[in-house]
Symmetry: C2
Subunit: 375 residues, 2 copies
Amino acid sequence: MTAHGQVPTPAFMPVGSVGTVKGIDPEELQACGFRMLLCNAYHLLLRPGHHLIAERGGLHRFIGWSGAILTDSGGFQLVSLAGLSRVTDEGVWFKSHVDGALYHLTPERCIEVQRALGSDIMMVLDDCPPYPSPLERVREAVRRTTSWAQRCRLTSRASHQALFGIVQGGTNHELRRQSARELVAQEFDGYAVGGLSLGEDKSVMWAILESTLTELPDTHPRYLMGVGRPEDLVEGVWRGIDLFDCVMPTRHGRTGWLFTTTGRVLIKQAQYARDDAPIDPLCRCPVCRKYSRAYLRHLFLAREMLGVRLNTLHNLWYYGMLMEEIRAAITANRFAEFRAQFYAQRGGMMREETSITTGNGSPQPAGTMEREERT
Amino acid sequence: MTAHGQVPTPAFMPVGSVGTVKGIDPEELQACGFRMLLCNAYHLLLRPGHHLIAERGGLHRFIGWSGAILTDSGGFQLVSLAGLSRVTDEGVWFKSHVDGALYHLTPERCIEVQRALGSDIMMVLDDCPPYPSPLERVREAVRRTTSWAQRCRLTSRASHQALFGIVQGGTNHELRRQSARELVAQEFDGYAVGGLSLGEDKSVMWAILESTLTELPDTHPRYLMGVGRPEDLVEGVWRGIDLFDCVMPTRHGRTGWLFTTTGRVLIKQAQYARDDAPIDPLCRCPVCRKYSRAYLRHLFLAREMLGVRLNTLHNLWYYGMLMEEIRAAITANRFAEFRAQFYAQRGGMMREETSITTGNGSPQPAGTMEREERT
């Protein structure tokens, strides 16, 4: 439950970093079943600025989205996008990737920005080193992330705004558990696992996630940041994850990589030139109900915006429906069966996945995201 | 009346050259009030190919548009887009702007392509020289256009497909009237005026149009090709035009040039950064009902696809509503009053326009596009 409606979990959040999910209307996101968007405080701080958005009545109103919004702090973007960023215990100095202007982001300022945006869930500022990093750098990141989390925790925010901590620790099990314990001791409204899916093997990722989750209370939402593929959602839920975000459905849509119940369709391929079938005959999305692969291929080759839009819409619908099916399966207490069917439909991918699957088979009960009211 | 529904006239056709109005869904075009699209035989011949579209069940089905479609022949595009085109009395040799392949388009082949596409209204292949061209070149274009029109007329097409002739003649009054007379003698289902708005003065354009219209029967639809601005629609209707097409609402949308009842809004301007008003407070389009100028400016500066889409949708809605108001004014026999109000709202543009206005004040009666059945 957020100030902007219930968010049934486990949930996937479409990514709308700068205040829009690329090419898609808010009404369409709702129709896909999404109740919470991810926006990015880093991007919105740089452009159009959080004060401007606050003056417009906050982010929800500015972008026309009536559902919930989680704002990422931008810890990850400071690594991946900002030029010449320099991290100290005080905060991060970085140059805007938009106009090169110099910014100083501290944990306190990070919360101020998210408070101005009015998001329902804020993320702490974390120190997210690239992968791989030397152990010393990872250790420093954990220490700093814990310290910054506390400073975020102590910065004033609106009473309806939840705050999540972010676990770091790279691919080191001990550091991950330590990071998780230190955050849990601070008592956040929810806990995110950051710094995964940065290039490490998937088997390593799942093992690290499992170590981390042993330290995170299942009474609080647990959020796997920036992950991932459809099978990652199934595997994450299997291990107890409640929240996901990833650019994959939108970014892949723009490159013509389409998700289906039986695997991917690369729409540019010549085999679809005269294919009158929809992207996925089992899909009931507005795109599959109306358009053929042949037309979508034509739009893709002609670099037409409508193609990008329809591809993205289909992929988001696929993700939305997948999460709906996952929630239904959990409610019916048949998630293990659902998971087996999921892989069986995709023919053979089960083997690839099962070899690295060591989950405990006990996903979080489906429900709505609850949190303790801040006092 | 076409095989795909009635088209109330005077009408504006959005341009969907390659089989999509850039970024906009067919349902949205319907909601804007459009009942006929313009597609381009030249573009579709090159990609994905007319045979492929015919196999898919024709163009309407391929692109998911249940309304009417007029296909332009591509005479204009052969000048503006194709590299190394060479025009002879037999037809046009040109290299595809898509892949450089060599094509030979004759009047007969042009009709075959449009027959395969299954459009409701076909256009003859015309010889459209650039502006300015030497008088001899314009004279040759008129002779060739008349001859090609006859060859198009004699080429077999489906019984539901209408065929329009295209008047050429540059800015020479005598050649224009001659071209019109020669086409009328061949008895087409409608008559288009091509080769205008290519850079000549607007006053010249209107004078030429008026000369031409004296030779075109008002019992048949009269179509002013590639024109134009909102005021051009008003002025064209004033002179008796029934059909228009232009890339302006869509192309201007992409550049952030927005049409309003009181003039243009250039959304990138700093004055809109904190402007919570909709693009046009008098507009009831889905964009103006929901989004602020401030948000649209943000999307534009961030080069976000949603901004392009919303801007385009608003502009198309503006054009659709303008045509609806024009039709209502004609039906109520108060078009002269409407025209005066139109300019008054735009403050001062009346003067600019009236100085070149010499219309006869007798627009075509509003109605649906009727044509003689082919025998």
